[in-house]
Amino acid sequence: MTALTETQLMVVATAEALAQRFGPEYWREHDENEAYPEAFINALCESGFFGVTVPEALGGSGQGLSDLVLVMEALCRGGGGGGPALGYLFGLLGTMTLVHAAESEHQQDELKALAAGERLCAFALSEPDAGTNSFNISTTAIEREDDFIINGAKWFITNLQHSQRLLLVTQTQRAGSTESCGLSLFLVNLPNEALTFTPTPKHGFNYYKSNQLFIDDLVVPKSALIGELGKGFASLAPTLNAERLLVAAGAVGTARLALRAAVTYAKDRVVFRAPIGSHQAIQHPLAGAHAKLEAAWLMIAEAAALDDAGTNPERAAGMANMAKYVAVEAAIETCYQSLQTYGGAGYAREYHQERWWREVQLFRLAPLTQQMTLNFIGQHVLGLPKSY
């Protein structure tokens, strides 16, 4: 990542400048009040941040995952911590999937509106009984003569309250069949009478509502189907790989922000005779965390470059999982040591460290647990037998 192009430097500078407008205090207030960061999301929309990977012909920037991780890292490091990560990520997933799968003119128009930031698209895959095993979801779309009828339930579906579209992942039954022919993707308008949802109270990220979603007799036209019937997973796979790297980049950005604050504090704070940053019990953990973050960042860059090149998908997927694992471990260690640097003050909300600590915990659980990344590395990179 030492040699960014002139364009990448401008993109990063733009993301940093936007992030600086919404500093830590903005996010603290919104977290405390459980308020949606509307001004921040609107600024992302207006500046075209949701169209990074959308082709230029459809109003996007036509860039790759290498550029997207730069944007994500800069938004988090620039002042927001984890706050921007989730809002940005959940607005991207549906759009990124459409980039791969939108075919009809109508669907391309939908993509244009998403790239331009005129609409936001939420993303619904997770279910209470499926967990990481996406093939085990039970929400089902049944094909009928002129339309589909969908029933089921989803879990941890973020920002339904503020989105105008929903990318819904379902099992599919062809007309007359009771067997699933695989996963399908549907683009659904929000709000929708057939969809009801209730937020799940959670540990952090209280700016965004993550919902239990109930789908009762949702009827959608055939044109709402994205990609091929029963072959939705193929359209979804690139998005899920990218999601790992985006979370990794968000974790590194959040941790770098926490570390920078801790370093500033450690230079300033004098309890006995010298600044606490001169004590090795403070200095070494911060130095070690910094080194690990740099290593993680190089892995993210490598994984994103492999993904963009597209020549070796297996190696790209392995590297994405390894980068996610390493980045999240490094980010958790950094946030732990940054909070510890503050002593008791680290527990006070006004210093933000406790919030970043809460936020970084999500990344060891979602989009998949650290243990599942190790399963992937063990099985697909090292060639060990599958245990589950």
Binding site: M10, V11, A13, T14, S47, F49, G51
Partner: protein, 250 residues
């Protein structure tokens, strides 16, 4: 109507500027550079005039080393149509820049030239005025509002204790004050488009301008560090020290 906007590459306003160890200059190694904030306001104003249909083309020019092209690209991403880079080595002084800009004005024949009132590195506040004199154009400096009206320009200036309204005949020169507008952020698609916009590189010889420096920088020093204070025993001692040591009261 064509608008010409001058932009300067300076140390980013967020950076704490340091002197080099040998005191010869400001440290610029590994320092984040950006468009001078007043120049950014100038670009924004020109782009707004274009969006309003008053201006048909926005040309952005920068005088400086090759790296100044980064700031021209940023201006193009903000909405300018094309760029001109006048390549010079080192750091030219205001009169040299004004002469080079005069060369560009002669070539481009803009109806409106917008510059920042000063750059945050040299703080000279001279280039716009010198260009006005060299190009024989009327000038409205420290503008907080401008309005094009046919072949004239109304400029509201921020002056000590109030506002002054001027009417200038076009072509004219405007230098921007802080409150003229709030510059936008470049959108990502516009950053991509900026890559494809034309950027012409020229030099003093091509413009027929001879640049000659009249000023030599002898040294750069940081302000002295603030010394520690003392605690006084009582009000009488405080008054005594203010009177006899600090000599701020009599």
């Amino acid at each position: 109507m064509k608008a010409l906007v001058a932009v300067k590459r300076v140390v980013d306003y967020n950076v704490k500027v340091r002197a080099k160890a040998d005191g010869s200059d400001v440290e610029l190694n590994n320092v984040k550079m950006a468009i001078n904030p007043f120049c950014e306001i100038a670009v924004e104003e020109a782009v707004r005039l274009k969006e309003a249909g008053t201006v048909s083309e926005v040309v952005v020019v920068s005088v400086g080393e090759k790296s100044s092209q980064e700031q021209i690209r940023t201006a193009l991403a903000l909405g300018a149509d094309r760029g001109i880079h006048v390549e010079v080595e080192g750091r030219p002084e205001p009169l040299e820049i004004a002469k080079l800009l005069k060369g560009v004005v002669d070539k481009e024949q803009p109806q409106l030239v917008i510059l920042g009132k000063q750059s945050i590195d040299g703080d000279n506040n001279q280039t716009g005025q010198m260009l006005g004199a060299l190009a024989n154009m009327g000038q409205g400096t420290f503008a907080s509002e401008i309005k094009v009206d046919g072949d004239s320009l109304q400029v509201i200036r921020e002056v000590d204790g109030g506002l002054q309204t001027l009417k200038l005949t076009l072509p004219a020169i405007v230098t921007t004050d802080l409150r003229l507008n709030e510059p936008r952020y470049a959108s990502l698609p516009n950053i991509m488009k900026a890559k494809k916009k034309p950027l012409e590189v020229t030099n003093p010889a091509e413009l027929g301008v001879e640049v000659k420096s009249h000023v030599t920088q002898l040294g750069v020093a940081p302000p002295p560090e603030r010394a520690a204070g003392i605690k006084v025993e009582d009000v009488a001692q405080l008054v005594d020290k203010l009177k006899n040591e600090a000599k701020v009261i009599s």
